[in-house]
């Protein structure tokens, strides 16, 4: 069969490595769509696995220069500069307040935008890969795979009701002896 393993957070690398190898040994064609992770540490993949690294974690939402300058560098730099000697405590207090009220909400907004960009990137890449690979078995290896799959698998199953979707590659024989 034509298997596609989906691991967009790569949180179960060991399981993916074992299950993809087992699927290959059983004669299946295996594609893995996964986040690479830092230096691709921890992956012990069979070289026969066809891998598409998502690299979504390299994507960051940009911040306008004016925001960076007027909301971060200038006010915090100024407070650092004046916060010497007897003004140190009040300047520190003002800086903490500024961070709480201005920069922290900006950071949260940026994180949200970054995650939205990454999510869109993952979804586009996965959908393109599914279009190309036409898998007849989807393996949703981790919770993030279910989250991502929620965006496209219902439509996929409507179009291809015979597509198998499981959470692990566990054919018979499988179970716990070989794991």
């Amino acid at each position: 069969m034509n298997l596609l393993f989906l691991a967009p957070q790569a949180s179960r690398k060991r399981a993916v490595a074992i299950e993809t190898r087992r699927a290959l040994d059983d004669g299946h064609h295996v594609v893995l769509v996964a986040e690479a992770g830092v230096n691709r540490e921890g992956w012990d993949l069979d070289p026969r696995v066809e891998v598409e690294w998502l690299q979504a974690n390299t994507i960051d939402a940009a911040e306008p220069r004016a925001t960076a300058l007027f909301a971060r560098k200038l006010p915090l730099g100024l407070l650092r500069r004046v916060g010497r000697g007897p003004l140190r405590k009040p300047a520190d207090k003002a800086a903490r307040r500024w961070k709480r009220q201005v920069t922290n909400p900006l950071d949260a907004d940026r994180r949200r935008r970054t995650e939205a960009l990454r999510e869109r990137h993952r979804l586009e890449r996965v959908q393109a890969r599914i279009e190309a690979a036409q898998p007849d078995w989807l393996v949703l290896c981790e919770s993030a795979a279910i989250e991502l799959a929620a965006e496209f698998v219902p439509a996929l199953l409507d179009a291809h009701p015979d597509t198998r979707a499981t959470y692990a590659y566990e054919p018979l024989p499988g179970g716990d002896r070989d794991r």
Binding site: R14, I18, I146, E147, V153, P154, L172, G174, G175
Partner: protein, 398 residues
Amino acid sequence: MSARRHVAVVTPWYPDAQRPYRGSFVQAMVEATAPGLDSVDVYHLDGWAVTREPEKLARVRDLQHRLLPRALAPAPAVAGARLYRLPVVIERSREHALHARRHAEWLRVALDGKQIEADLIHAHVPMYGGYAALENARPGARVYLTEHSSFLADVLAQEEARALYDEILDRSAGLFVVGEPLHRLIEDVFPHHAGKLAYIANPIDFRVRRPEPPIALRRWLSVAGLIERKRLDHLLRAFAECRAQDPDLRLTLAGEGELRRQLLALTSELGLDDAVDFIGAVEPGDIPGLMADHDLLVHTSRHETFGVVVVEALAAGTPVLVTRSGGSDQVLEGIEEDAGALVDVVDDPSVFADAYRSLRDRYPGKVDLDRARDHLRAKYSYEAVGDHHHRIWFGDAS
């Protein structure tokens, strides 16, 4: 064969490809109890945390409703059991009662409107496996529980979870614990359920034993997660103190965890790079051989619900030097001197080092590993634990 010997096991922990050692005691329990049963079904409910964002969560839940009944297929497991694995998607939350409800809900979805077939269910971790079993059992089915959780105090500190736990105990046929600390905790919080509470052991493999006892206690072994509760920094400092007097000492650390980097750094700082070996996680099946390859099991944990590794070491014929962490004290009750030595949980590594020197000086003359091993085999071997379960379930041994 009679249908009354069909047993289902419901558990949140069971070895899988990602964590081959997690819940290995449940797998061992299945293997120990299967002889004499007609069939065993194991339901492994694996908690997977997902988003709390309402719209996305709704889509995830819709997909799970569609996929779970399709995905649930039995795989052959140990001793002829059938293994059903299902991910339990739970919105990120620290509320144990919510986790319990999700375990029950997704098992119901996976069963697709049916109930667990067996009339006898043994569930592990009452809050998760137990509640899921009770909510999906047939009318009249008996549900027994075993509690292993090291985080039970946190569970019972939550009001809603405590009330649910009370209900779970009320509806169960019996609750078993693997060690005295859990027994005390549950008895304190639910004195009205004290009559349902009893001990049960995790089965330990006694088949592999070293041919000869260790000659000298130089090759130390720790089998423990690299986490704070295990106090491996304390062990490294005690080891360094002992090694200063005996450069031939070696220490193997089996296990993984969040403190790996810090412990590696401490190893270097103490000048122990040549003497300490971090070998990572070990497959449960490799533990007896690993025990037999070392001279002494060392364990510095602050708190344990049961002393599995202590029994495993003695089963392999390896003496132990372990802290009084709750579970270990109970396991070694009556055989402390024969098995090795127990050390109080104190912050001074010298106390552990002193205990080692004292044990080394009286070893092997004043240690009786055979007696310790026989004592433990009568309580913890697969046969003993299997018979114990069968007496509870059916009133006779297998």
